[in-house]
Symmetry: C2
Amino acid sequence: MGSIRLANESDVQAIYDLIKELAIFEKAEFELQNTPEQLLIDGFKENPIYYCIVAEENQTLVGMSFLYVRYSTWKGRVLYLEDLVVKESFRNKGIGTQLMKETIEFAKLNGFNRIQWQVLDWNVDAIRFYQKFNAQFDEEWTNVHLNLV
Amino acid sequence: MGSIRLANESDVQAIYDLIKELAIFEKAEFELQNTPEQLLIDGFKENPIYYCIVAEENQTLVGMSFLYVRYSTWKGRVLYLEDLVVKESFRNKGIGTQLMKETIEFAKLNGFNRIQWQVLDWNVDAIRFYQKFNAQFDEEWTNVHLNLV
């Protein structure tokens, strides 16, 4: 049986590998500019920017919920779920559900009233998964970005 | 002639009024749960969560760019533009353009490689405005949220 726990410094390479696996699945590997070194600084040194809940099976990380705090002018502090990912060969075993439940627990314990995230409109498995949790879909917003370099 | 500057504590009520004006414009006033008191704590006390660039005309705030730092697993730290708003009666005078240019300047000065934001798919004026800055629109993502209370 696996376990669900908060990530620590020694998980950084495995976290990076999961990020990379998800980027490939999302057909966006070329977008990945982050590094294990940067993830270590950003998550596990002074003033961590993100939190990570991980799923472990036989001492291997097989999934994670990658979280950070956002600021909504309407809602104040909200917990943002940047990535929820389970390694392909470990899917359909309930690990994603466990991670999502633990994420909701984490949010409540830390005084958040809302979790926000995004889903790709063609990722029907993910959409169905989130519907099970009664998540609300806000379809009228479009993402925009501006590269400065 | 107006000025563009970083917000300070005494701007909190005016910032709140702009947030409220935008919420009404976006047909979502009922979503506004934040308060001036909370904005003061979150932006101007220890470890501020957000930054705000404001446009002032005759000692009145007429627009703002409301910013905070997000964490992308692919890009690392990115600057997120939560709200860009100009009071209705002061639009079409170039104030939005000034605020956007100052936001880009702020991002570069603080070492960000990317600014991200969102736009409502029916807000054609905003979409046209952002196109002038060569912003990229990523239409395949859908926003999702889960209310915990």
